[in-house]
């Protein structure tokens, strides 16, 4: 069997035999993947040229290692009784909080729990929170953006007014009320942040991008070839929105981690442990005004929040230079 050298447009009206479709679909997929890999490589090299981008990637990598390290440490050298981030107690120390020591590299908190263990344990939940929120945002925003750009009219007006409304609302204040009244846990918090982001500003940006894709000739070609609305939106428009979506995923991660930390610091969330809660515990115990004396209670957690937020934010900005060629420098 000879496969035709040029791929028929997907979903075209005159479908060749089934096997052929499978075959050419596969080849189409391979071609697309190859193309995507190629542009990814080109983008990657630009990204790696920006020092800030590399730095942010390194920081994120370090935190990822920290997240993975906790369960391993708990299984190997840390016993749960002493090192559990919530219920543990350092019986080996006389005073709590105790200063960093060989057994407790970052000391213990006022309740005798190991700070390093808390820090590592929280890292994982920050990632879970950030990535869940980002995925929810991107899933909603790309769909909303593509749909409003494609259909226009009332659908567009509705989603864009909604987005305007959400932008006009101060998110943290809203989250303060929501989490205080409903005692949100990590998953619901991620969901709320994701929904607010997805129907908010990100949708507007992705819509304007989708508008510029909508007028491209291949969309027209797909339409002429008999592609349905659903097909065009999900096969042609949304994949082209993904690079920009990735960019806004990075920013959503930043705002999710930040929001969680603020709410935890204010003691409004229903979480076991997090960087925000660590600072909250230290603050309510009055240890913060001791200044540098109890530094290990606030510096590791505070620095982690700042570093991870900055890393995602700066990574997003470096990515922006890849996605947005206008920002690039002409030479180096």
């Amino acid at each position: 069997m000879i496969t035709p050298p040029n791929f028929p447009p997907p979903g075209s009206a005159s479908d060749p035999p089934v096997v052929e479709v499978g075959h050419s679909r596969l080849r189409l997929l391979i071609a697309r993947t190859r193309l995507a890999l190629h542009s990814f490589r080109a983008g990657w090299s630009i990204f790696m040229e920006s020092r800030i981008g590399v730095l942010s990637l390194v920081i994120i990598g370090v935190f990822a290692i920290m997240a993975v390290a906790h369960p391993i440490l708990m299984l190997t050298i840390w016993d749960a009784e002493t090192y559990d981030p919530v219920t543990g107690y350092a019986f080996d120390q006389v005073d709590q909080p105790s200063a960093p020591s060989w057994r407790h590299p970052l000391g213990t908190d006022p309740l005798g729990r190991d700070v390093l263990s808390q820090l590592l344990w929280s890292t994982r939940s920050e990632f879970v929170l950030g990535i869940t929120a980002a995925l929810v945002t991107v899933a909603i925003a790309t769909t909303v953006g593509a749909v409003s750009a494609y259909y226009g009219g009332l659908v567009d007006v509705f989603f864009m007014r909604l987005a305007d409304l959400i932008i006009a609302l101060p998110g943290i204040s809203l989250l303060i009320v929501l989490s205080a009244l409903f005692k949100l846990n990590l998953f619901y918090l991620a969901l709320v942040i994701g929904i607010l982001g997805g129907f908010g500003g990100t949708a507007i940006i992705l819509k304007s991008q989708a508008l510029s894709i909508k007028v491209k000739p291949y969309i027209e070609a797909a339409r002429v070839a008999g592609g349905g609305h659903f097909h065009i939106i999900f096969v042609h428009i949304i994949p082209n929105l993904l690079p920009l979506s990735l960019l806004y995923m990075m920013f959503t991660v930043t705002s999710a981690i930040f929001a969680e930390a603020v709410l935890s610091f204010l003691g409004l969330l229903d979480l076991r442990m997090s960087w925000g809660i660590m600072i909250h515990t230290a603050n309510t115990g009055g240890y913060l005004m001791g200044g540098t004396r109890y530094w290990w209670l606030v510096v590791p957690a505070g620095a982690s929040i700042t570093l991870l937020c900055s890393a995602f934010y700066l990574g997003g900005r470096a990515l922006d230079e890849v996605v947005n060629p206008r920002l690039r420098r002409r030479h180096d």
């Binding site: 800030i52 409304l165 932008i167 006009a168 609302l169 101060p170 998110g171 943290i172 204040s173 809203l174 303060i176 009320v177 929501l178 205080a180 009244l181 409903f182 500003g201 930043t254 930040f258 930390a261 603020v262 610091f265 204010l266 409004l268 960087w275 925000g276 600072i279 603050n283 913060l288 005004m289 200044g291 606030v298 957690a301 505070g302 929040i305 700042t306 937020c309 900055s310 934010y313 700066l314 900005r317 206008r326 920002l327 420098r329």
Partner: protein, 383 residues
Amino acid sequence: MTGYLVRRAGQMVLTLFLIFTFAFFLVQAQPGDYASFYALDPDMPPEVKDQLRASFGLDKPLWEQYLIHLKNTVTGNFGVSFGHFPRPVMDVLIERVPRTAVLFLTATVLSFYIGFFLGKAIAWRRGGVLEYTATISGATLFTVFTPAFALMMIWIFSFRLGWLPVGKFLDPLVWRHAEVTANHVFGQMLLTAFLLTVFAFLALWILRKTGRVGLTRWAGPLIAVAAVVALLLLSLSGIGGLALDILKHMILPIATLTLISFAGTMLLTRNSMLETVREDYVMAARAKGLPEKLVRDRHAARNALLPVVTSLVYSLIFAIDGSVIIEGVFSWPGTGLTLLQAVRTEDLPLVMGAMVFIGLFSLLAHLIVDVLYVYLDPRIRYQ
């Protein structure tokens, strides 16, 4: 322009209505019965409870309650605060909104000015030490964990250096023998600041109208003299010491809020500027033989300002959120702290009131930005 303003105001009213509806149903939807909160409050005499119950229709069906609430809200009646009983919610908010407004406005103006200035500088000279330091420190401050940063500021400036008070609005020791209330003093301060601003704008406007380039140079000194006179008058009026006390309490929260929010404007200005410097009119300005400073400020930066102002909405919302956090940490008795205390104590009428006011705040900020944009971009102004 008038038509535009009317249309925007209409939109605002509608949005405010949506925010109110959202707040109402949110409060209703929280676990726990709204009506029974009144019943549980031990401070409240039974007759007051009955009166409130009647005026807010708490025994009626939900939609009727909603309508009654809406009517009350429109007439400025948010009910009585549980936490501040017997003060009405409106009374609490009227006292606190200006305090937030001052904190927020000053910090926003300052951070916009600093951010725009730095942003245009780093875009003009790319790749220098300034760009790296400003980008990294700006982004760090922008993403810094605000409460921790605020606590650090308190620790440095209040505990270690002892220059500024720890937090709160005023120092009770200073006010022990004061014959006037804090609200009166604060009101006088606001009035002074307002008159001074009006004077500054008028002076600039009149000087520019004369059409002589040399005269505008006198605007700065003139405004400075006016400021000194105003401060003298304020201190001679007998409340100078008290005003100074409030002012001292304002410095640290404003500085903190400014530091965390300038970077947004800075990075936006930089990006926007990188685009405008490639425009033909910037090249034309240089070709005309204008000094580099004028090419940068009058042409590149002036056009780069437009997208920055469009995005100012985001910065303002960021600053509103920031001011809620800052008020929480510094115990600055503004709307944000009110909201925090209200949600902690489940003071539901106050929560609703504060939410509506914060919403109103952001809508007003939004409106101001839009009007500013129309003023700055002639292409929109003359449509």
